[in-house]
Symmetry: C2
Subunit: 416 residues, 2 copies
């Protein structure tokens, strides 16, 4: 497919943009150029799409199922009983609903961890997004379970080739308190052998830290380092209860932090110290977490949440400024996963969006990045392109009606 | 005008709704009923609209003009110089842009304070919203200025009758540090005489408290009470640095708190203690503040911000639940201003909206209120009705193109 976007605002100027295959081929004057699809870029701006650094996409089926509850009640009486009932088809339909929501809100990449890996992979494949997918690896120190998980991940690693290169297979050891040391060591080895990323939850609650110290005499990041786990291929979600020394350790090893402010606030988990982490040398990307604890997958609202929470928390109005929030919601996670997306440049992947400069939330238009971070919502996003293909135009995603119908059926299936 | 909404979801059931004049006349079976406009309510839900408890609407012209700056630099080098250049026509066009944004995001009432009262009043009148409008009353202890402000407010009080009853005139003494005691006393008297509300900023910064103690030997709420200012007609924005005793004092007098979480976070002003204020007996409504410090006027995102910030701040996942946030963003401020809006009932004002239950963010649909608070954005809102008139249908507001064009012109006028 080839796309020609004519007279679109980009980087303070007006340009034509030519997309062919999966790449942006030219930015500038394309007057002689033809393409299969020509988009009118007037009164629109071209921007990179959002990259959602941490989510459990399929949990869209659980949106607003249980809220405002004490953590243990929430998990024990609501989330886990519901999760025990799902089958791969539910994950597929939940993930499709999530993909639809992400497309509609300008996200083309997400970093995921969930059950029934193929369910999510099929959803990504069909909806046209890009994703790094991990199966939840939990063994609870049980040898048989560990063996089963290792076998499953080996199998999924082979089966990854059934999908296009928009899908990145990675390992997903859930957390230090749900995965044995032996399995964590296996993840490190298998990842090193095959050049894989590892997606893990780290230091999300105070209890995780206390328990880790009691069990290992070390704080979570120290423990992971002691078993050789930490490296540039580790993407760690939450990172709330890190000491400065742990941030420095993670930075030294090149491990990445995935910051989920809305989920952390909603679950009263605590606060990831963005400014301190960056000072310590950590790279940070922003994610929404799953719909059970957000309850949306909207990266636009998430980067605003991150910027405002950081200013509130530090008492410093200059902390986590719009440009930094924008980077953490777009380019940062692309870099983690070695993708040339999250930026608009010749040769980069054609993962981009057109925003409507006539949308009231982008008017008067003094500063587009500040508008995108602090004012825009999904209604500003007109067109979304991923891998050189148009996924949404005029805010319509082909096939969305069927995805919604399947999504609404969850209400009946999981009626209390 | 009369409107018949057929087969709409409301309160867990499906009903017809008949609107005539400015009121909801019937909810139930309206099969024999005719109306000038018939709306298909299928796959839609009827909800009360948002009521924005504190804003400076016209400041939409300043959206994303200056962000992420130290407070004094922001005010001194950016906000105030720009404000010194505006004329009534700018306020009119800025407020129209704000009204458009509010309609698009489901708000039909806002509580305002700004310069050029008539500019905002004209915008409200024309766009069809409802608003309580105050002129900024500042005298800096200057006798001549105070006299001028008093005269202006007396004049505006008379001129309020030039507008429909959708516009409520109120007094707007800016804050205790910008208005003399004498003028504050005048506001109290004039308001009592004419049954007016008073809109003021209270305890927004730590400096306000320190200065008040130094000058009066009292904390801000105590000082206001000592001069007889506090009463059920006082709506106080921010209320961040209140001691428990001040909350109890405000509650005892019936004064209301207007909570603006996004602005407070963005300006690192501190945190209004919602739970404590409610425990102390205060009534609280949520507002966006102006576009200079938010940067949008979206009550949907504001109630989510309030709910999440409260859970984060208190460490309690059950704090400020969805139902409370929804009430604080809809009905609460209507009650403050003695409006029978912010609820759906026979006889109530027809200020309501239709949300699209097929929007991906409201699917599966386990809990509509939780979805509205935690997941929805403006794209879910299809139709907005205020005072029995349709202001938006299929997300289109008649005349919006001209408002946008005028709004975009601000970028040129205020180019740096």
């Amino acid at each position: 497919m080839s796309i020609l976007i004519k007279q679109v605002a980009w980087n303070g100027t007006t340009v034509d943009v030519h997309i062919s295959g999966s790449q942006i081929k030219k930015i500038g004057d394309c007057s002689g150029q033809t393409a299969e699809v020509v988009l009118d870029g007037r009164n629109k701006a071209l921007l990179p799409t959002f990259h959602n650094a941490h989510t459990h996409a399929a949990m869209a089926y659980m949106r607003s199922y249980a809220d405002d509850l004490e953590l243990f009640t929430w998990l024990n009486d609501h989330v886990w009983p519901l999760e025990s009932k799902i089958i791969e088809e539910d994950v597929y339909n939940g993930a499709r609903l999530a993909c639809l929501e992400m497309i509609k809100s300008g996200t083309t990449f997400f970093n995921d961890m969930y059950w029934f890996w193929h369910g999510t992979a099929r959803a990504v494949e069909e909806t046209g997004l890009r994703a790094a997918l991990s199966a939840v690896f939990i063994d609870f120190d049980d040898h048989a379970k560990a063996k089963e998980q290792v076998e499953q991940n080996k199998r999924l690693f082979e089966e990854r080739t059934h999908y296009s290169n928009r899908i990145i297979f990675q390992l997903g050891p859930h957390a230090i308190y749900t995965v044995s040391e032996k399995s964590l060591r296996w993840c490190t080895e298998f990842a090193a052998e095959h050049g894989l990323m590892i997606h893990i939850h780290l230091s999300e609650t105070g209890k995780e830290v206390t328990d880790c110290i009691a069990k290992h005499g070390l704080r979570p990041a120290e423990y992971l380092d002691s078993i050789g786990f930490l490296g540039p291929n580790v993407a760690a979600a939450h990172c709330i209860w890190l000491e400065k020394s742990e941030m420095e350790l993670l930075a030294k090893r090149g491990a990445k932090a995935l910051h989920c402010p809305s989920s952390n606030m909603k679950l009263a988990s605590g606060k990831f110290r963005f400014t301190d982490a960056v000072s310590a040398g950590m790279q940070v990307a922003i994610g929404t977490d799953g719909s059970a604890s957000n309850n949306c997958l909207d990266m636009g609202s998430e980067i605003k949440m991150a910027a405002l929470l950081e200013k509130h928390f530090t008492g410093n109005t200059t902390a986590l400024n719009a440009q930094t929030a924008w980077h953490a919601g777009t380019r940062a996670c692309a870099e983690f996963y070695s993708l040339d997306s999250g930026r608009i440049a010749e040769g980069a992947l054609a993962d981009c969006m057109l925003v409507d400069l006539n949308n009231e939330r982008l008017v008067p238009g003094h500063n587009l990045v500040a508008d995108m971070v602090y004012s825009a919502d999904s209604s500003c996003i007109d067109t979304v392109i991923c891998d050189g293909k148009i996924l949404m135009q005029n805010r319509h995603v082909p096939g969305e009606e069927e995805i919604i119908a399947k999504g609404r059926a969850f209400k009946e299936k999981f009626r209390r």
